[in-house]
Symmetry: C2
């Protein structure tokens, strides 16, 4: 028989013509749905007040009614450049901003929201994401944004950063990633890091980061061993229940 | 051979195993992309100032800074209920609102935008769409929103309404739809209506709407005949070039 798709001859069973055509139709429908959704995203993507705003240049107004300021403890830092935004948008994206701005708190009265322990660049990327659902991540920025997303309860951004960090996960960074994920309740990242660590237990105790972690937060190390043990028990149970073993 | 998909036996060629698996994988990838896009849409979907706003009830503020008012010529209409909105959002969705609000025009100064020839319900649905990219359409509302989308250059909404109206197209409404599409530059709808009409030319001249259109706007009728003629010429050319004829 000759395959309708690749036109090569084949003799191991594949699909019948009807199923092939059905799969093809499904693919067309899915692609069309993707086109629709992309257009919807492009429409809903909010014009960001940062599109025309660079430090040192005057801010294009765009009806902004609030400014976010990165407040750093470092005395060497110069005067902070405010990042303009719209209250209505912040409120719609984050329940923390909602509580802050809808109740007559200091931020609402002054029109300034101070964001602690964050660089200007990370704050700018954070605000930009709230408007556009887009960010150009590297590992540092992904960590910074994950922390902000956790603090201001922006779930979509947190997931976005977690997925990126999981894709960059490797043995060298696994302990650091595990501790970071633990600290910021990043479940997806935590599971991935833990799985990577428990797959390499023979190399674990020689790692400098491991020794550090035992020193600083031994409970986290206990959790690694517990996960390893649970994995072993599960594997054993699976073997026992497998037919023919 | 037995189909890997439906498990039935088959003897007319379909796809080989590799292509079947590849198609399956593609389907999984497309579905995962759809999930991502849906989450993005849910995130970007703006909290609408209308979510908690019904006529007669106080407007929840939500930092709105402009109001749209349906201005009707009918003297029987009561005082118009304003639809609250955010300048920044209107500006980001429509180049017409942008020009209106970013230049010091009357609307910008007064904070009120009058929208002519529209019902309160249509205006409300229009504003809601700008925030959410969603509308619960019937044919009347789709026509009203298409007119607004054309006027305020909201392409995404126009396409949305056109697709809905095309899906509802039938012989009874074809002439009206054709004239409406013509008036509002709705190309997709125009082509569909024209195609439906030219497929039923034998019934055309007996329609009351046809007689009306000849009276009111004969140029549109000429365009129907021109499209019909062009279709005939194309069909004839296609027949001539077909092999074996």
């Amino acid at each position: 028989m000759r395959c309708l798709s690749c036109t090569e001859k084949y003799d191991v069973a594949g699909t019948c013509k009807e199923c092939y055509e059905e799969l093809n139709e499904t693919e067309e429908e899915l692609k069309s749905e993707i086109d629709d959704l992309r257009a919807k995203v492009a429409f809903l993507r909010f014009w960001s007040p940062l599109d025309h705003h660079y430090p040192g240049r005057p801010i294009v107004p765009g009806f902004t009614d609030v400014a976010l300021v990165a407040s750093s403890d470092e005395p060497s830092a110069g005067p902070a450049v405010p990042v303009p935004a719209h209250k209505a948008l912040l409120v719609s994206r984050s329940p923390v901003f909602r509580a802050m701005l809808e109740n007559e708190m200091e931020e609402s009265r002054t029109g300034t929201i101070k964001i602690g322990d964050v660089s200007y660049d990370a704050l700018r990327a954070f605000v930009n994401y709230l408007y556009t659902a887009e960010a150009c991540l590297d590992e540092q920025l992904a960590c910074d944004l994950l922390v902000l997303a956790e603090k201001y309860q922006v779930k979509h951004l947190k997931t976005y950063c977690e997925k990126f960090l999981v894709s960059k996960l490797n043995w060298d960074s696994s302990i650091m990633s595990y501790a970071f994920a633990h600290q910021h309740n990043a479940k997806l990242m935590l599971d991935s890091a833990l799985s990577l660590i428990t797959d390499n237990m023979d190399k674990l105790t020689t790692k400098a980061e491991y020794v550090d972690l035992v020193e600083k937060d031994p409970r986290l190390v206990v959790e690694i061993y517990e996960a390893y043990l649970s994995k072993q028990v599960n594997t054993a149970a699976h073997k026992d229940s497998s037919p023919g073993l």
